[in-house]
Symmetry: C2
Subunit: 252 residues, 2 copies
């Protein structure tokens, strides 16, 4: 069998998901835990890369025996989450495990993903949101918030999102379909939610940097269309900090 | 002037609020920050003690020059929060400062306080709630949750709460008035909210330990009255872990 794990992790202490030569990653911790549990090296394939400090309320990986298309174990699949979680640090958790077909691919088979980005918008810092939000202390006005909502709605649809891709990315096909965006505010916490069939490198963080420029009246909401049409990274706002970003849902 | 600060802190790294001979406390960090800002030792008086690992969404302290009833400074009161926050670690924040009369006392003048207690009730651990909730992995049934609500409602009123006080507490007057209790559940997170004119040592944590016994059908909800009437610590449930407890509001 091939096993799909749904995990969650607090990204603060990791250099992102993907194994790197320098720095501890989530994938490395999963490599160690699966080897300890199953007794052999495994191939762990993730649903996406994440940057250093980015979090996941839900992230998916498949586990197979290294260089094989299956996992060789007598452990019942429903016991795997708990058995792996005790072998992982407190900031990584395995929520569920299920058997998938051998040709299932955790990245290519994604129908859509949803990200959430949190902005703490009070003058004082919140100890509970440190490392889990972007602190923008300058108050966003009611009008600024309404303009953010208008601007966010203009990101929905099938567009060439090249303006919202990190300049050093080598991806050629920059057309993606954004299904839904939402801006909400509650007691000083502004939350941006976005779902799409795929995301370019830093796309959500550049969306958020641009939306905060709208919030602070540096960009008018109606300019979003022009920014998108420019297909030029220079046209959009800055890249928002990584620690406010959460991969929230992965749908197959 | 005498200054009242509203602060918040993540209690994970502290041995509670009150200065202790061993271990770092929130009060100690406030002593250091105020001395650095004002240039002299200050008296910091808090609205209550908190145990190691307990958090505060809101906690109040007064600041005066040591052995004086006033604070001697040219810093405008509305600039104090930011000036102190930069001198405090990331897990302590000063949200606001206001001038109060010299006879104001941050503990004796409290009208009521509200605590919140968070219980994470899913089989898997949540990396974002680690150290910020009590993980009870066994699912609470719908009926168990309804019974918790009934039991919680029976704690409201003016009662002798001796059954819900740590056995080693030396307090003699154990009568308090609980104004309101509330149990809510959302996506596996059970939240208990309670406000009262005062709280005995460990009272909220013993309430929660007892309510979880109700949730798991070890105590019937109608037994709460008998437990209260017993005025005996042995009659109530266990003391819930400290890390799920948050002082949430202090009203003068």
């Amino acid at each position: 069998m091939k096993v799909l794990l749904r995990i969650s992790f607090l990204g603060t202490n990791y250099c992102g998901y993907q194994v790197q030569p320098n720095g501890v990653t989530v994938q490395q911790k999963l490599n160690e835990a699966t080897k300890d549990l199953f007794g052999y090296d495994c191939d762990i394939i993730g649903c996406s890369r994440t940057d250093s400090g980015v979090h996941a309320n839900e992230f998916c990986v498949t586990v197979t025996k290294r260089k094989e298309s299956f996992l060789d174990t007598s452990i019942p699949v429903d016991k795997i989450p708990q058995a792996l979680s005790v072998r992982l640090p407190e900031d990584i958790s395995v929520m569920s495990a299920e058997e998938v077909s051998e040709d299932f691919h955790p990245r290519y088979d994604v129908k859509y993903k949803e990200y959430v980005y949190k902005i703490w918008n009070r003058p004082w810092r919140d100890p509970f949101l440190a490392g889990r939000s972007w602190h923008c202390p300058k108050p966003v006005s009611k009008e600024g918030l309404e303009n953010m909502k208008i601007a966010a709605s203009k990101l929905v649809g099938t567009h060439d999102f090249a303006s919202y891709m990190a300049a050093d990315s080598k991806i050629k096909d920059t057309v993606r379909t954004v299904y839904e965006t939402e801006i909400t505010e509650e007691n000083g916490l502004i939350t941006f939610r976005v779902s799409a069939n795929g995301f370019l490198y830093n796309m959500v963080r550049i969306f958020v940097g641009t939306l905060m420029d709208v919030a602070y009246e540096r960009i008018a909401p109606e300019d979003i269309e022009k920014i998108t049409e420019a297909r030029d990274r220079m046209a959009a706002g800055s890249t928002a900090r990584p620690e406010g970003l959460f991969l929230n849902r992965v749908v197959y």
